[in-house]
């Protein structure tokens, strides 16, 4: 479990979420980019946020070595299903995708895309979480939906025991 402090709240990312990104990282020169939604909940007694689910690339998405386009409808349908199954406790909380580099950096396109998501997504949370999974390292950014600020909050190596 990753824990980061952001303003007055804690943001937790459950280990299995990182494990999925690790499994889909672009180790091989022919691996395509992958990505999906980050899904989570707000704790009742603290307002802390837990990322505890995700969506995976779907048939309708566009994948290549350097690009990934996640389509709207199919992922939102899965999100709705997960929301119903969780007794209406999960919501959209951000995006993850992979990069074919050891230590990942966001591209101008990524930043533009994240700002769009902060602006256009419809969710209970004031901020979104963005994860880029590199080959050796993954990084976590948090973006504020009101100010549109995006800051790097965590950098970690994968758990090699998996």
């Amino acid at each position: 479990m990753i824990k980061v402090k952001y303003r007055n709240n804690e943001i937790l990312v459950e280990e299995h979420v990182i494990e999925v990104i690790q499994r889909l990282r672009q180790e091989d020169p022919t691996d395509y980019e992958s990505g999906g939604m980050l899904i989570g909940s707000v704790l009742t007694n603290s307002n802390d946020v837990v990322i505890r689910d995700y969506t995976l690339p779907l048939m309708s998405d566009y994948k290549s070595r350097h690009r990934f386009i996640r389509k709207k409808q199919s992922h939102n349908a899965i999100l709705q299903q997960k929301w119903e199954d969780s007794n209406k406790t999960v919501m959209y909380l951000g995006e993850w995708h992979t990069h074919p580099e050891m230590d990942p950096h966001y591209s101008p396109q990524d930043i533009k895309n994240w700002r769009k998501l902060l602006d256009k997504s419809n969710t209970f949370s004031d901020y979104l979480v963005f994860i880029i999974g590199g080959i050796e390292i993954y990084k976590v950014w948090i973006g504020c939906r009101r100010t549109k600020d995006i800051v790097l909050v965590y950098k970690g190596a994968y758990n090699e025991n998996i």
């Binding site: 280990e15 980019e33 990505g35 939604m37 909940s41 707000v42 704790l43 009742t44 837990v50 350097h66 690009r67 990934f68 386009i69 996640r70 389509k71 709207k72 992922h75 939102n76 999100l79 709705q80 929301w83 969780s86 007794n87 209406k88 406790t89 999960v90 919501m91 959209y92 995006e95 995708h97 990069h99 074919p100 580099e101 591209s107 101008p108 396109q109 990524d110 895309n113 769009k116 998501l117 256009k120 997504s121 419809n122 969710t123 209970f124 025991n161």
Partner: protein
């Protein structure tokens, strides 16, 4: 599969009865009684102008083997064997020594001690409620072998119901104590205690409708096997009491066989299991066919519940299957996973387009 090992262990801490070693109050009660018996026997035999026999005491029952649970009705029981260094050949009336014990303790409690078939029972009351009782089986030796002999019979039983029968209380203690070692032994004790608690919760308390604890215990020495499961978070194996209990219940069920009852014209599930020590008798012999069949049906229902609990992914749901129906209120139910989170409205996001710059 939900991990409810923590709940099982908390439950065990709640129901576990401390041993004599750790339970000063009960130990003191035992010592008061054994001292009283020693003194009383001396006085009695001197009055009769007989040689005073030496006495030995044997801790018996669940205390002796560390398998006790806190009783539902708070009526704690202590089993303490009284061994007279006398020969059965000189005491053809098996009731003689039991009456002496009863008479010695007559003024000790407000409830008069009672001579039961296999023992003398002393009941201590607290505010008119039985607080605990002490069962005292009475043994002698024989001139012709090394066995102990237990005095059977009530005060006014017919002659044929008053007799000496070989018994081996220490052999039974050792058999149970030595059946497992280390972590397997710890889990064995927990599983036996879970079974006893289940019995308290799911069976009527009167008569022989309850399967005897000693029967379940000695069956567990044969049928229990130590179970662990792999915990991927810590990369370690840890005890899996749910699986061990379920496995034992399934094995126990397989010990039953079908028997046609001619009188009732019906098939019954029957169980027979012999003591592993003297007198090697069937421990379930007091139960009727109907009672044994009920025992089987209840085990079946219990097995289903344990399977159902094992299939739940949320510990809250898994524990709700078992508590309070099978284990009473002592089995904890953790908060539901979903209850930890706020309810929110349906969310959605637009499409997402990421790109790594092509560095070439």
């Amino acid at each position: 599969m939900a991990d409810i090992q923590k709940q099982f262990e908390e439950f065990h801490d709640e129901i576990k009865l401390k041993r004599f070693k750790e339970n000063k109050e009960l130990r003191e009660k035992r010592d008061i009684i054994t001292n009283k018996i020693k003194k009383g026997v001396k006085t009695k035999f001197e009055e009769m102008e007989k040689d005073v026999p030496s006495l030995e005491f044997i801790d018996q029952g669940s205390y002796a083997v560390d398998l006790g649970i806190i009783p539902e009705d708070k009526d704690y029981d202590i089993d303490e064997g009284v061994v007279f260094d006398l020969y059965k050949e000189d005491y053809t009336d098996s009731l003689e020594l039991k009456k002496i014990i009863r008479d010695i303790l007559k003024s000790h409690t407000t409830t008069i001690p009672k001579i039961k078939n296999p023992c003398v029972t002393i009941t201590y009351s607290l505010d008119d409620e039985p607080a605990y009782h002490v069962d005292l089986p009475v043994y002698v030796k024989s001139k012709y072998d090394d066995h102990l002999y237990l005095a059977w019979g009530k005060e006014f039983s017919n002659k044929e119901n008053k007799y000496w029968d070989p018994a081996d209380p220490e052999g039974l203690n050792n058999y149970i104590k030595n059946s497992f070692a280390d972590d397997a032994k710890k889990q064995f004790k927990r599983v036996v205690r879970y079974m006893k608690k289940w019995k308290d919760v799911c069976f009527e308390s009167s008569g022989s409708s309850r399967p005897p604890s000693v029967g379940i215990t000695i069956l567990a020495t044969e049928l229990f096997s130590y179970k662990q499961s792999y915990d991927s978070l810590s990369s370690k194996y840890k005890d899996d009491d749910l699986n061990a209990l379920k496995d034992f219940v399934s094995n126990l069920k397989r010990k039953f066989f079908l028997k046609w009852d001619h009188e009732l014209e019906k098939n019954f599930y029957i169980i027979e299991y012999d003591l592993p020590v003297q007198p090697y008798t069937n421990v379930f012999s007091k139960m009727t066919n109907t009672q044994m069949d009920t025992f089987y049906q209840k085990l079946n229902e219990f097995e289903n519940a344990l399977t159902e609990a094992g299939g739940k992914s949320d510990p809250h749901e898994a524990c709700k299957v078992l508590s309070p129906k099978y284990f009473g209120e002592a089995f904890p139910i953790p908060e539901s996973k979903e209850a930890r989170y706020k309810k929110v409205a349906l969310s959605s996001a637009p499409s997402s387009s990421s790109a790594k710059e092509n560095l070439l």
